[in-house]
Amino acid sequence: MTAQDFRLATGGRIDRDLPLRFTFNDRPYTGYAGDTLASALLANGVMTVGRGFKYHRPRGIFSAGAEEPNALIQLGSGARSEPNLRATQIELFDGLESASVNCWPSLEFDIGAVNSLISRIIPAGFYYKTFMWPARLWMTYEHIIRHAAGLGRAPKRADPDRYDHRHAHCDILIAGAGPAGIAAALASGRAGARVILADEQNEMGGALLGQAGDIDGTPAIEWVEAALEELASLEDVRLLPRATVFGYYDHNYLGIAERVTDHLGPAAPAALPRQCLWKIRAHQVVLATGAHERPLVFADNDRPGVMLASAARTYVNRYAVKPGRRAVIVTNNDSAYEAAIDLAAAGLPVAAIADLRLSPTGPLVERVGELGIELLAGWAVVDTHGRRRVEAVDVGRLDDTGQSITGEVRRIDCDLVCVSGGWSPVVHLMSQSRGSVRFDDDRACIVPDESFQEERSAGACNGAHHLAECLAQGSRAGAEAARRAGFAKAKPAKPPKIPSAPEAESTPIRALWRIPGVGARARADKHFVDLQNDVTAADIALAMREGYDSVEHAKRYTTTGMGTDQGKTSNVNALAIIAEITGVEPNAVGVTTFRPPYTPVGYGVLAGRNVGALFDPVRMTAMHQWHEQAGAVFEDVGQWKRPYYFPQGDETMAEAVNRECLAVRYRLGIMDASTLGKIDIQGPDAREFLNRIYTNAWDKLAVGRCRYGLMLGDDGMVFDDGVTSCMGENHFLMTTTTGGAPRVMAWLEEWSQTEWPKLKVYFTSVTTHWAVAAIQGPRARALLGELCDDIDLTRDEFPFMSWREGTVAGIPARVFRVSFSGELAYEINVAASYGAALWQALMTAGAKHHITPYGTEALHVLRAEKGFIVVGHDTDGTVTPHDLGMDWIVSSKKIDFMGKRALSRPDTSRPDRKQLVGLLTIDPGEVLPEGAQIVSEVRPEPPMPMIGHVCSSYWSAYLDRSIAMAMLVGGHGRHGETVTISLEDRIVQAVVTKPVFYDEDGEKIRG
């Protein structure tokens, strides 16, 4: 373990009584509660934490927040491991394990660093230009390139943690709890509005947590604490720390990722989720997301030890950590002076301030002078030196234009370079909400322009620089939002009290987007703009020369702003450099689109509880338990679990299915048909409705009778099929395919409500009201007769395609004489709660008939033998009734029905459409794979002219041979022909037949 040599003895918002052990790249360290991983590493003198993406140069901790481009961490190990987290946002906990993500093969020795030496030959677009040919090797190149680049690794095992989703509504959502956000929450919360104040950090207060200034004569942090205490006491205000507002969508819908227990590590209570996704619908939004400090672009500005000035200030004040031993500050604005003052006060000597401005004045400049810090006005850092970290900088005097250095270059020893190139308001959410942004020349930054949704920006994200301004804007924004949300009417609000704060007077920023280099450094190929993606000012210049001068093109060509940080510290510099090179105003260059998420959001929290068993509902029938106990193998049909087959002993699937099929043909089978869709249709116009929705006529269907129907879309294509029974003069029960039930229900409702609202007809889904046992086979009547004495089962009294009400095994039942197997069959419907009892009774009484439960595979074989289609299996949305040879079900008398007109369109009536046929392979043992292509000509290799495809194919144990159904071009006229099916490794021949292989005359089914 190392001592925390860089920790200050006093101060900071850390708990020195609570030391926490952690590892970084397998080395043990200690930090304190309240640390981030970054501050704890700095406390231990660890500045270098990774390597550049392309040149593999060492990289150090650069910021103290969400904008961090360098310090990307692989956190944890095993299934909980998470890649590419920012060390600056990881709260330290005891036992934390961390590693660099980008330092292959190690942080110390890095083979990729050789790239740094040859960087002149791998400029922007290098990969695109060099690895273009041969194209098929790109995958190989890319693999090697990615490995060398190597961001973090996704864990290979399933995430063991739990995540929650919460929906919430509020009058006002405030994103960011810095001074502006807190002021807004006070103004709106006091007015009685329902307010959610969300902040990405563990503590609220934003920039005030890292500053030493005063508000109302007391330390700023005390003002924060008092304000938070008041907000917590307001009933309708919800404070959400550790909660990043990451996305702003249509109609004021916002996403928040809350890290509920990440910061507790292994100590997290099991009852709590790891993270929570808040889905917020807000009446009004106040954006108070602050600003990111911008780096300056100078030679070797990527060396570890170069850090944003505000970050250095935060480390000293908030974490009581000195990020170095001797600092040089380079700035173009006033804010870095405050950092200089705080660093000096903490005992971190500031060797010099190089200020790009020619004659900075004001109270901060005077204060720095009093502290004896050397001020180099009109100077800049022109280079840095050092192997693993900055050891010295070169400073030089800028000429009046800022384009070159005049006079001698001076070297100053230091290990910390605090940079400030001005501030970039965090306009991400504002832009995501489709508000427009513009470049403000005076303040040299992008600021919000016009709002699109009900939102307003306040504070630093609105371009405000000074604390008083931030507080005032926040208070105004909060009050305005409350008024817009309706609270001004209820209670005219007093003008919110705006806390006072010292106003600073400052010299304007001097925007200098590229600081000139000296000698070889003048090429700007070590002037890093995007630290995460290793994009230099020279790369951008190259992209401009090569014609990629639109900002969107330049971004993609150079990859600037495309890392996991999405260019938070680089985008403004990049666009300003583009403007400078192309000679236009920055505002004319525009900005690239800000897209959600603001910072990366893990898939786990997006998925929430919708994983594993909860990913999709599972539907089970009333007989499910019986099937399970009988050892059924299940198949998913829609959301239903249906028995696939019932293996006995060590039977294979084929053996089980053959046995089940033969049982139905020769004796008796039973299947659970409960999943078939059932729609109860009632109303005086029910019959007319069926006439319109089905292809056949329903006028004469008598009570007690059933009819098969085919449903088409208005394009004439088969949509669903099923049997509909007449239960009463104005009452029908429609059955649908298992998977099609919801679709058919929606279809009926749609036509009823939107096109034929005058028809009095009502639909109720009763699928799950009824449990259905289908007994099929020659002995079905015998079995039913034993259990039912109130229905006359004789052939004439209870014919095929009719239904009767009665009692089966003492249970009230509707018995339908319909069959999908081609055998004598009864589908016995009972209330779902009687399903298991009915099944058990049938199994017990059926034992002497060798009753055999069968599953969906046998069902398919049996129906294919009989030539019954399955919609969605044999059809695919491009098949008409005529294609199926089912003209018999299409009424020629009805003037109109759904799909009728389309059947006479030229395309639907042409003779060379694919039509349903049967196929019998020449070799009876050959079972064709479904989907196999029928070809008109065999060629050595594909493509071959395809004239059809196999849609259903099975081994038929009853026929002792294979059978298949196929869609074949002009198939109806090809019966008797031999066709060729091209398989992957062989050619198979088959004879075209009618698609009926069993009991063509229907003797058995009507028997």
Partner: protein, 96 residues
């Protein structure tokens, strides 16, 4: 995600609804009298307006009722919600 106000259930998230495409396309009363082209127009051709769009939605995960929506396809602003069978709202005059 849009916020749609179901005429029967009130404002709900878009995920509860399904969009049924362009509204006010009546199924021809006598399809047999239509030419192939006229039928194809009814069956396949839909507007693709940039701006005001009248479309049908159904509260699929709620009351299952259909209704009409006037939505701006660029801004997603919803300017009217009205029952099936009702005429569309008048187009605002230019300049408004």
């Amino acid at each position: 995600m849009l916020l749609l106000s179901c005429p029967w259930c009130g404002p709900r998230d878009e995920t509860e609804f399904s969009c049924g495409g362009e509204a006010h396309i009546d199924r021809p009363a006598k399809p047999a009298e239509l030419s192939d082209r006229q039928w194809a127009d009814y069956l396949f051709m839909r507007g693709n307006s940039k701006g005001r769009h009248l479309e049908r939605w159904v509260h699929a995960q709620g009351c299952r009722r259909w209704f009409n929506v006037e939505r701006h396809t660029v801004s997603h602003h919803i300017t009217a919600i009205y029952e099936m069978g009702k005429p569309p709202p008048k187009t605002p005059k230019a300049g408004k």
